[in-house]
């Protein structure tokens, strides 16, 4: 009896916490397809707000995809080889490098953005282009790629594979391409999902680095929250959810599969 009481109490509490997290998201989704939020869902269901968002903000959505893809490309080209080098080399220098590239996670985006602004304010062309936002996203997401790939190197004996291929006469580049990268595939995939998800949702850095001509989706969101009617802001948030939730689910499924191994 006493046990049942405790169980029920805890279950109710947990359900309330879940409601706190889920209900606002539901409100937002429903508001995005409601004719008039003030009068409630009985006023009718419509996609007009979603279309209006597309008319107003299509550019921000496209730019977000461009920047996410470019961030992914840079973190792959830069991050995967360096994860390999850091793992093979080991020792103190590698630990220091890993420590430094992880620092952007511990420092607020606002501080990093200010540093970038102070450093590159004289380079007008770069400052005004979307590449400036890209530089911030790369710094912020790089540690996720490097660490995710390094985690895989820690679990497969990459050194033996590498030495085996070397003893057969393969050049360093061929070994990297044909032995290292295929073995690192799970880490590369997990890291890529993380990089794209974070880049699509990044606001703190981007807000400081953007110009009126380089607005990403989260910047547009902040803009719509401040100046648009609630239905439009909700429809825009709905578009963001539709983009980000499949990535989150993929990440979760991937983590579960890795755990079962």
């Amino acid at each position: 009896m006493r046990y049942r009481l405790i169980f029920t109490g805890q279950l109710l509490f947990t359900l309330m916490v879940a409601a706190f997290l889920v209900v606002p998201a539901m409100l937002s989704i429903s508001a995005g397809v409601t004719v008039n939020y003030f009068r409630g869902i009985s006023s009718g269901v419509t996609l007009q707000w979603v279309f209006q968002v597309w008319d107003l903000y299509a550019g921000t959505i496209l730019l977000s995809f461009v920047i996410a893809a470019a961030t992914l490309a840079v973190t792959l080209v830069v991050g995967v080889p360096s994860a390999y080098a850091l793992h093979v080399r080991g020792g103190r220098l590698s630990r220091v490098v890993e420590e430094i590239i992880t620092l952007p996670l511990a420092i607020p985006g606002l501080a990093i953005a200010l540093g970038l602004l102070f450093t590159y304010q004289g380079f007008g062309g770069f400052r005004r282009s979307w590449l400036f936002i890209l530089s911030g996203h790369v710094i912020f997401t790089m540690p996720f790629m490097v660490r995710s790939v390094m985690a895989v190197f820690g679990s497969v004996d990459i050194k033996t594979l590498d030495e085996g291929a070397a003893s057969l006469g393969a050049s360093p580049w061929r070994r990297f391409r044909d032995v290292i990268v295929p073995n690192a595939a799970p880490g590369i995939l997990a890291g890529s999902l993380m990089v794209v998800t974070l880049s699509l949702g990044e606001f703190n850095l981007t807000w400081m680095l953007h110009t009126p001509l380089t607005k990403t989706l989260p910047i547009g969101l902040a803009d719509s929250y401040a100046s648009m009617r609630l239905e439009v802001a909700s429809a825009y948030t709905l578009v963001f959810f539709v983009m980000i939730i499949p990535l989150l689910i993929a990440m979760q499924m991937f983590a579960d599969r890795e755990q079962r191994r």
Binding site: V17, L110, N204, P218, T237
Partner: protein, 271 residues
């Protein structure tokens, strides 16, 4: 090409990117912080100037309150979910962890839907008590927002820690005559200590440095990130904004370093 030089070549792009877009800007930030009229003393302004100090205290109190509330909530829910098996458990876990990657701006908007002028809480309270409760645009709204994005992170850490607990210790305590509360207080909670420190430090650092939520709710909430932002954009007070953000960065970095020394892993202070 020898193996050794290939390894160095692999590191080269990372060295260039990190130096150009992180180390150099950070150095520039530290230098800019000392370029104000007060010079190096500008760094002390965060403690000596009453307005900045008030903002710092506000931010620390808010972060501490967020951390305490999140730990309490996540421990009860996390322990329950890890210790019991029932239908719908997986769905419940998914619901509790899905906001993990929401940006701060979106969380701010969700708080407005909950506690804003057209919000659910105001709607319910005006029907029940004839009084509309609206608190989204204040520090209480910010607290609600930080709770929203801290709970999923902390719950995952707590669940992992509960899974590793030795159930035998609790059984031993019970067989020695300890009641359920005594078992929780003297066996379970101390064993979860490292997880509390680790996830609590992450929640604290995140709440200190987050900017998006405060930005969405109101620009006049007096927390450090908003102060830095207004000093930079409205007052064009570059040296002060740089000095304040170096101070803020040092605090969040120290908190996460503390967390890592307990758990051996680090998590993003995003939001």
């Amino acid at each position: 090409m020898s193996h050794k030089s290939f390894v160095w070549l692999c590191l080269l792009p990372l060295a260039v990117v990190t130096t150009a877009f992180f180390l150099l800007p950070m150095a520039r930030l530290v230098v800019t912080g000392a370029e104000g009229p007060q010079g190096l003393a500008g760094y002390l302004a965060i403690l000596t100037e009453p307005r900045y100090r008030a903002s710092l205290i506000n931010t620390v109190l808010l972060a501490a309150a967020t951390t305490a509330a999140t730990l309490a909530i996540a421990t009860v829910a996390g322990m329950f979910l890890q210790r019991h098996r029932f239908p719908g458990r997986a769905v419940l876990i998914a619901m509790l962890t899905f906001p993990l990657a929401f940006p701060g701006v979106v969380v701010g908007f969700l708080v407005i839907l909950l506690a804003g002028r057209q919000g659910l809480i105001g709607d319910i309270s005006s029907r029940l008590f004839e009084e509309k409760l609206v608190f989204a645009y204040s520090i209480y709204g910010l607290f609600l927002g930080y709770l929203y994005f801290s709970i999923p992170r902390v719950i995952l850490t707590i669940m992992a820690a509960v899974q590793k607990l030795d159930v035998g210790l609790e059984e031993a305590a019970r067989s020695l005559g300890a009641g359920p509360w005594a078992v929780q207080r003297d066996v379970v909670l101390p064993a979860l200590g490292p997880a509390f420190v680790a996830s609590g430090a992450i929640a604290f650092a995140t709440a200190m440095g987050a900017f998006g939520t405060a930005f969405t709710l109101a620009t006049n909430i007096d927390v450090l990130p908003m102060l830095i932002y207004t000093e930079f954009t409205l007052a064009a007070n570059f040296a002060t904004s740089a000095a304040l953000s170096v101070g803020l960065g040092l605090i969040t970095w120290a908190m996460l370093a503390l967390a890592r020394s307990f758990s051996g892993s680090s998590v993003a202070a995003a939001g």
